[in-house]
């Protein structure tokens, strides 16, 4: 079985990627606009929330994760959980100095 036969039954086409690209461009415009409104500390929170939505679009569609098997999905999840633990524990430390 070659690589194409393995994957072609759920192969996303050109249209889907162009739609994802349009969403990413729109979100870039939104994040630039929102940054001009003064929200104090919330500015960083909103910017990171929008960036995370964009990142999910990239990971699930451009990087094809939505169409991968459960093993790979779990591996990616574990990698991000480790990153979250790493970031979280650093802040437990620095926030209480």
């Amino acid at each position: 079985m070659n690589e194409n036969e393995r994957t072609k039954h759920h192969d996303p086409g050109y249209g889907l990627f162009i739609a994802v690209w349009a969403a990413l461009m729109a979100l870039t415009a939104v994040t630039v606009e929102v940054s001009t409104i003064h929200l104090g500390f919330l500015n960083v929170v909103v910017a990171m929330a929008i960036a995370s939505v964009k990142a999910s679009l990239v990971v699930f569609f451009f990087m094809h994760l939505k169409y991968e098997n459960r093993t790979l999905k779990t591996m990616v999840l574990v990698a991000f959980v480790i990153l979250a633990i790493f970031i979280g524990f650093t802040f437990f430390d620095t926030a209480n100095r």
């Binding site: 093993t71 970031i87 620095t94």
Partner: protein, 198 residues
Amino acid sequence: MTEHRDYLGAKMGMWIFLFTEILLFGGLFVLYSVTLGRYPTEFHEASKLLDVTMGTTNTMVLITSSLFAALSVVGLRKGSRKVAKTCIFLTLTLACCFLVIKYFEWSHKIHAGIYPGGGTLTQWEPGKQAFFSLYYTMTGLHGLHVILGMGVFLWVWTRIAVGTCTPEHFVALENAGLYWHLVDLIWIYLFPLYYLIT
């Protein structure tokens, strides 16, 4: 004799490599966040010195280059080497645009003495110096990834041209794409953190 191929293994290997990249940049993002928490006002002011128009343009350029990287895989799978090669060419062109804009941004700052150890920057508060040290380190390391990604795409382009990366066995192109999307992903976080926290 048939050549041994492991499609899923090749892709999983690429992802494992990408995890190490995520942790490499993750460490720098932690350093950024802790320093931002320590010098919020200075980061605000230093961030105003970066050109939002150039940053936004570069974000759009990189996202579009990522689109063409994704389209090149679709093209090759559908059997068209020509579409795949054209899309890779467009990805590489946009990557060059990204680097040229980055070059103008950096050289403008360096001429103004705003670089680690530079005449202007050393006069400023420690918080602003930290901001620019992190800016050069993180966008520099990201830029290095852009250059490496271009090299990877050039290699895959040659493989498609000579016929060793084909509509049946396209994992090399898919993995090059994965690397490129990760570079895009990192920029998606770098952009608001450096340009938009004003």
